[in-house]
Symmetry: C2
């Protein structure tokens, strides 16, 4: 078992990563001062619930906790204000009070939705994350929680740090292969922005990671979480440095928005976005090997590096302009300087971005 501490002053919290953690959940909760006198709410989705909800309820009941549960439909469409209202209904009917805790049992969607519910229920109550995907190693660090607006992703949200994250690797064993690869996309991203050796380690251990080898997973998740925790602890509210975590996200979010949430998994869309950022880097004069290495790393993890030909460049450009990273009229991109290091670059000529999007289309040019 490994523990990664996210250092945020009085909002600091630990991420426990290992196998078999869930069976000790009562002890973890008591050690973290989760009150036995106020009901807990578990939020999960209909893919995760059949595997782990009954178990979690039983473990918490045995530890003396009262719980209510809300199961939402799996997928990005549950990150909406209307589903949030349903979650709040469960909380109110379950008589959650200001000392209650919301538990997110699931992946990034459940974490974002449950976290935003915790951030806003009675103006903010406690929150614990139990991630059941690899992708959630990213979203469980840093306290960003949100729901989507029909016009743009993650537009309505808050910063709300959990009390702790319980990452039980056993819950990853039921993940479909596409979810595994999508999660590894954020893992290799953490290497690409701050730690080239870790990015190369991901490529070298791609087959173990894709096969959910517990040792490789524990190491990779702990290192990915550590890198993110380090960045977040230096800039909790994304005034500057934290923006580097958005490598691949400007293009990736736009692809998700234009394709309609669902066609691409988040990690797939940002893999394409990272390939795009690497193309932009080379076009801006960085070494051509950046693109080749990035693509080889992504492909080793069975991630896409081009997008479907039906997506139009105009639509993607338009979606990018709605992005939160479009600040005061400037287009902002995270651009690799080498494998393991990136810069925040403003004011990239729009034409260059357009051409790069064109090249990302399947059947487009395969070289920069």
């Amino acid at each position: 078992m490994r523990t990664v501490n996210v250092d945020l002053g009085e909002r600091s919290y630990p991420i426990y990563i290992g196998s078999g953690l869930l069976s000790h959940i009562g002890q973890y909760f008591k050690d973290h001062g989760i009150s036995l006198n106020s009901p807990l709410m578990i939020v999960t989705d209909d893919h995760v619930a059949p595997h782990y909800l009954t178990l979690l309820e039983k473990l918490l009941l045995e530890a003396g906790y009262d719980t209510v549960s809300k199961v939402v439909k799996a997928g990005e469409t549950s990150k909406s204000l209307s589903v949030l209202e349903e979650v709040m209904t469960t909380a109110i009917e379950g008589k959650l009070d200001r000392n209650s805790t919301v538990i997110a049992l699931g992946g990034g969607v459940v974490g974002d939705l449950a976290g935003f519910a915790a951030a806003t229920y009675m103006r903010g109550i406690k929150f614990v994350q139990i991630p059941t995907t690899i992708l959630a190693h990213d979203s469980s660090v840093g306290g960003k929680v949100a729901v989507n607006h029909p016009l743009a992703k993650n537009m309505i949200g808050a910063f709300h740090q959990p009390e702790m994250v319980l990452y039980d690797l056993d819950t990853l064993q039921t993940l479909p292969p596409r979810d595994v690869a999508s999660g590894l996309s954020e893992m290799v991203k953490h290497g690409l922005i701050r730690d080239g050796d870790f990015a190369r380690w991901c490529r070298e251990h791609a087959s173990e990671l894709l096969a959910l080898d517990p040792e490789a997973l524990e190491y990779g998740l702990a290192l990915g979480c550590s890198i993110k925790a380090d960045v977040v602890s230096r800039d909790e509210r994304e005034n500057d440095l934290r923006a580097i975590l958005n490598l691949g996200h400007t293009i990736g979010h736009a692809i998700e928005a234009v394709a309609g949430y669902g066609e691409y998994m988040h990690g797939e869309a940002i893999a394409i976005g990272m390939a795009g950022s690497a193309r932009l880097a080379v076009r801006l004069g960085r070494d051509a090997s950046i693109y080749d290495e990035t693509v080889s790393m992504l492909q080793s993890l069975r991630l896409p590096v081009t997008m479907s030909s039906h997506l139009s460049t105009d639509d993607i450009m338009d979606a990018m302009k709605h992005d939160k990273k479009f600040r005061e009229g400037h287009m902002l991109f995270i651009i690799p300087d080498s494998i393991g290091s990136v810069s925040i670059v403003k004011d990239i000529p729009e034409q260059l971005v357009r051409e790069t999007i064109d090249q990302l289309r399947e059947g487009g040019e395969t070289h920069v």
Copy 2:
């Protein structure tokens, strides 16, 4: 012109109170570092918009600001997640970015809705309050923002402090008399909890206050804001002391919920609630004059002290149990010890609360 400072460390902000402030809004915005490079969004309602929206847009345009505006229906029903989504649509289409500011032009409903939009748009942007009601002197201090859930008021919200509050007394001159009295209910409440002399001043100057005399208003609003600011600065997130601001609110919120938002104005409902708290105080052994004085103060401001006979005690008891102040299974009330001083009392016997609610009904007993 008077300035009240709300002292909250790096989240401190001033409340400017006086006549003719709006015409200097450009200067106030520049002094507070509101960026000229990012669009502003004005949120207001269809009662306030005809009086002041065009003027405010013109003044901001002259000062060099781009604005978009969202006009919502006046009244509590606009404090919903679906109206919040509409406000967010205006913000996104208006290309508000992370450096943008939301302006709440209106009363408590607009302040709560616009403030929650500012708290959650892109996980939080700046917020300026321009209150146009007396009631808003209360809601504009302390950063509590929220929308309602169909099952309970203010259930979904945040703490989000404004950059400043611009209280232009000229905008109060168009208030209907019932709104004036409702606003004065929170003003006298601030006296009742912390400053008996101020509560008595409110009674003595009731006719000037009801007639919107500028001098009386400026003094009363500044003192009301100061009392609230002092309480909030000692306990921003309502861990203990801040709860005293809820005098009359446990019963008042329940009356609003059971009557359906709309039958009672907020200030009227909490006036009935304050009469109820005074009754409880006497039943718990405090001096009988507390009830008589409280009622005479409320009545001098033309506020109700009894509720409509069609409201059932069972329904009100039930609604109170959904209240945020119902913590860990205990019923919590703010009880006056004298005029100008209150205690937070837990575990009042339910039967005593029931009897008090019964007595609040019109035609019920007029003495404690």
